[in-house]
Symmetry: D2
Subunit: 282 residues, 4 copies
């Protein structure tokens, strides 16, 4: 028995639920999970469903073709994929490896529904850890001058490895607008603040100066507009007046790793659908 | 335009989603929200959907009759109700009124999707607050000897007021098995601990003795088996070694009021479906 | 036996702890609680201690005089007060009464270490609730033109009632710079966002637009620089894509009431010391 | 400039704060941090202070001797240690390595104020990861019959490595009473439930059966009474009806690693003082 995930969004209208579910029922596709949501403001419909083939009476190819026809009619954006066909992830990292390490540990433990296929970095520091996990490590140093070229190399590696998602696991370089557009919806970043507070550089230093009592981290899709991409997850942690910037950086490592890991998991399970500048998590 | 909430559960089988949604689509019922869930262990299907009548082509009576036929076929337990037909709540309270006060405040602010219709208490203390809110207050004192009779009076008040849900808002009497059964699925209690830790009496005292670092509160349906009913919500709050029992009691008031208010809201929005000793929150 | 709270801050130097504690020990003041903190950046020392008079060998007047001499030498800012001499609070409220109601309920339950002495409002709506609690209610309507005069009336009421702390419990008027300065360190506001995110008006609307996954509330001292005052407490609550602005407003009521109640309690227990634009909570 | 941490507890009495602080002031020890606490029930005093030698006018040996005399008089239990003299930790692990990996990552990043000196395991699985971090790995398999002998080997390794703290980072063997007593106050365990709920085996399975809405993890000192040792930290995470046992196990990994890392940090910074079956965290 094999299971499949179908996720789509389309303009809302009468009978959308009946439309897709009758198609599946007719084909003998057995639904085991469904979530859907209609945005009352944009009147857009979002759905994620999981079904299996225990009673399927057509081939998956036939089912896909039938669905394609309905999807065209509904004007839907969609993904249909076997749940054991794991998304291929490339990680990007700079000097700090706590997010990298958390992702690799979860992946090795079978707790991440994805295939990590390689790591790129502008530092050599993480090579040992990455290679110990049996993964290729690409050292791609960067300077102001070589940035266009280095970004080209990132894209080449991503393409060569058949990457489907680029995870910026504390990769401390600002991506060019071109790269952001190239990877729209296919790149997730972790920002070490509770956005929209403390956008930009050195958020922990500014949190200390402002005297906040809670710090946080935000995982979001990368867009050309820095730290403004659609938010997937946010995690927070209380602090107090004794929490120095250095301690915030240490405490923040857990919060960042958790927020990013959750976001990657949600994306890979096809639970994250874009709704303009916002996300629907199903 | 009027909206309706349909919630049901039934044994899972191929095509349940198609079955109910086709029925709604044929009748012109416009779905605006759906959540469903299949328990992979019990293979039971749970659904909550909201639809409106903007395009309805039959009367609601006809729709109900059609649905009744499908529900019988699916062997479903269900509720179908207009979303502006607010559930009628009776509150029970003892000496401490923080949960009572929170519920009344939310109700008065329009933040509770319910109609509070009266308050019963084994103390006179809250009469003023209740009557100030324009609600009838029933003083029903109780002793060991008069308990059967007093519980009868509670039921009479509940029935007289057309009550649909009894909320034990820190009502510090243990209900008899008979009353628990009578009100099965229609009575919510707040327990001032993070169940299953510290079941029974004086949970904050025992939390202090054990030296825990987090306290909590649990809202659950009342069952004859004390503090073992299906859990609806749990809220927690960190404490430290300086937190005396008295402070826990004060901090706990917020946690209890929040957990109970959330549970009442979820119940009244028909979001809570029973799944054996567990709940599904849709 | 009576207990006292001494809190002070001063430039740090060798022997501060020995200095104040020897003075107390010599007078037979029995210390039961102490917290202190030195800001490593500003090199300022902060202390809060509670002692009782079980073994006191001088009068409290004598002790105060001795302490005054030491405080002068240390260049300290300080407060020394019996813990049963509760701070007198005046509340200000507009149309929404959830924070008002939470504070009144806690106060009546003995869970707030303060004396609430009156309520001012630019609306008549809360009169009934306030008067039911046996408190004077001052209706002080305000227009753009009458604002200076109305603020004068607030100050008169505050002074007449011997107010020591003004709590803006969702008082939706921006105070003038003059009033802010007049009440510096003696006025606490609740802002319905997780500052510094969404400063200013309509934070829940902007939170919805940005698609954040957590909302919050911030209690802070009032300063002329709007929403920039020293932060005392921040509380948060997760939300998701289904959370409409209206629901945020309802959920936010709990978060706001909790954050504000905590802040008032901390202030009244002399636990909040100012450290520039930041607070030290002891 | 070097800094030192002094922590002690003793029966409370008049002038304890003056006594230790005068001693430090006389020696020119510059206090930078202090927390203390008196348990109002047991009337025991607890203190942690950090001081530096910028103005020290005696040797540390002399200061220690002077303090020893005062400590004897106060009947105090104490530790005085340079803050750069990091505690030596031995980790014990079984098949699951998420806690191990989190501790190693933090240690390598300088975020753990301790020296990890070796890892023992009853499985070979983590050897690669441990050796990649440059640490000795001791494979000590165990059966029912060889348990006494294997525990002897653990103690030998611990002693050989000059271990000061044994951290059970998901070590899934129950230690014998003898070993628990031998390591009293020097061994920290992580239990994957929110104690006292779900003591013993398979807590996530039982959490699922009970239908709780929040899961947690508890780090505590090891005692002969299983899962009853003094609690250091507890962390929680909300779940819902969709959370399968397998997902709980995955989500729990973050909670467990965070709770354990925090507990180890607090212990190594001498912030955890025992107060009977409870802890004081300063």
């Amino acid at each position: 028995m094999r299971s499949y995930i179908l996720s789509f969004s389309c303009p809302d209208r009468l009978g959308v639920v009946a439309r897709y579910s009758s198609l599946l029922a007719d084909a003998g596709a057995f639904i085991t999970e469904v979530s859907n949501y209609t945005d009352p403001v944009t009147e857009r419909f979002f759905l994620r469903c999981v079904f299996d083939d225990r009673a399927l009476n057509v081939t998956m190819d036939t089912l896909s073709q039938r669905w394609q026809a309905v999807a065209d009619e509904l004007n839907a954006t969609w993904v249909l994929r076997a749940s054991d066909d794991l998304p291929r992830i490339v990680l990007a990292v700079s000097a700090q490896d706590h997010c990298l390490s958390a992702l690799l540990t979860k992946w090795r433990a079978g707790a991440l529904p994805a295939e990590i296929v390689g790591v790129v970095s502008n530092h050599e520091l993480s090579r040992g850890l990455v290679e110990w996990h049996g993964l290729p490590f690409y050292y791609l140093p960067v300077t102001k001058e070589t940035k266009p070229q280095q970004e080209q190399e990132i894209l080449s590696v991503f393409s060569e490895l058949d990457g489907e998602l680029l995870v910026l696991a504390r990769y401390m370089q600002i991506l060019s607008d071109g790269l952001c557009q190239e990877l729209a919806g296919r790149a997730i970043n972790i920002h070490h603040s509770f956005l929209p507070g403390f956008k930009g550089a050195k958020p922990y230093h500014r949190a200390w100066e402002r005297g906040v009592k809670v710090i946080g981290a935000t995982a979001h899709y990368v867009t050309a507009d820095l730290d403004e991409g659609p938010i997937i997850t946010q995690e927070v942690r209380p602090i107090d007046h004794e929490t120095t910037v250095e301690r915030m950086i240490h405490l923040g490592q857990d919060v960042e790793a958790n927020a990013l890991s959750q976001a990657v998991r949600l994306h890979c399970e096809q639970r994250v659908l874009l709704n303009g500048q916002r996300t629907v998590i199903l």
